[in-house]
Subunit: 250 residues, 2 copies
Amino acid sequence: MSTQSVVTAIRVIEAVSEDQPVGLSEVARELGGSKATVLRALTTLEELRWVEQDDSSKLWSLTAHAYAVAVRSGAMSTLRDIAIAPMNALQLATTETVHLAIPDGDILILAERLDTPHVLRAFLPLGSKIPLHASATGLAYLAASEETYVERYCESSLDSVTERTLTDRGMLLEEIRDVRARGYSINEEGLSTGITSLGAAILGPGGDPLGSVSVSGPSSRIVPERYAEYGHAVREAARAIGRAAARVGH
Amino acid sequence: MSTQSVVTAIRVIEAVSEDQPVGLSEVARELGGSKATVLRALTTLEELRWVEQDDSSKLWSLTAHAYAVAVRSGAMSTLRDIAIAPMNALQLATTETVHLAIPDGDILILAERLDTPHVLRAFLPLGSKIPLHASATGLAYLAASEETYVERYCESSLDSVTERTLTDRGMLLEEIRDVRARGYSINEEGLSTGITSLGAAILGPGGDPLGSVSVSGPSSRIVPERYAEYGHAVREAARAIGRAAARVGH
DNA sequence: AACCAGTGGTTTATTAGATGAACCGGAGTG
DNA sequence: CACTCCGGTTCATCTAATAAACCACTGGTT
């Protein structure tokens, strides 16, 4: 691979990001590189204000500057800006937490969230990594994906997040069929215990999924009797976002 | 400076981030480097899934992966998670948009936002760069900063964002004195025309500002008669966040 | 049609800079 | 006091980053 120093620098950023305040040796150990190389990358990144070091503990962290640069990722910012209005309408219609997730490899990233005034509520921090098979957004995304992609994903190890996560290959495929027939996905406590979510994929002009929206709340409020109503609302929101995205930029 | 290739790679990331879908030549022109060097960085970053290229237009963009990595910056994620609850309470109390901003050099970065159900509302995308002298969050941050920092900042060029932005050095210093006496900051249409905001700084254990919270809404709703009430609420929210941060471990 | 200025991308010799092993001093621990 | 971890440094080796010149292509102008 080319430009090794850049590769190590980026891997350093990713390692620091995962273990937040982290020491030099641990980063070097994780990357398999020498301490000198890692320190070199860290000091360079420090000059660029991407990482900073706590004076007393000597531990390294990512700076707000790194965040400020990366929030403007292409898919992210455009889709998020488009989605805000329909998400707001969905939030008003359901009075529950609304999520927008966009794909990054074989997971989804939580890109935006509108909270509810309820005391009891779903909560996921922005930027959370969401497994496809363990979330309403993910199931909706899978159901809208090409068959070859779904099959390939099902071959991967379906790790369980809670006791109720779908980890069986056959059941997952069956669930995806159900989502396609129903038009929205249902995830009962598969990502967070006590939280039920309904999701729908946002489709691009070619029918390819750009991301997903979902409504999440405590299972005591998101009860089966409401699935049809809320599911319909989620689907309509996803469609509205898709239409708006098509209008704005291919 | 050391590790030039890393420096160019990071500068490429920042350049791409600013101009979103951008071509090779333009990036090379901005950085003053050769196209070969920039392309080298871009292809390496593509392998690392930090940038991606549109097949037809050949333009480059940042990926969601970059966002996913950088969203977990140290100060960001911890302070944001802590702040969510008090921000929610503030949002309920005022029914207006609530912002959380954290410092990055001499500006603030919008780290979190809680929207309102109002049709007419303040809107800033997450990650927005907020000038200190042109925002309620910034004025509150300045008022809580050390005198030497304030003086140094006042020496910089105070660019105007709207017609009502504070650009005069003397008036800014006077405003900061007022903020200190009052306990919260007021910004009337200095950042967005038609939007008035009230802000307060979040203080760390040593009295140093970690960031700011604010309440923003159309000037028709955020009227002077409400300043005292909303200002008090903002101040209390900032204090609650500061206390919670101290409890967790700065 | 011929031209031109722009694009994205490739090749090249040169040399700058990235590398890891061995090392140092300090902090904590048995 | 010995042992082991830590963050950080040094240095000889040689990989890999660099910029200029180049190519092929596209779209607009004359």
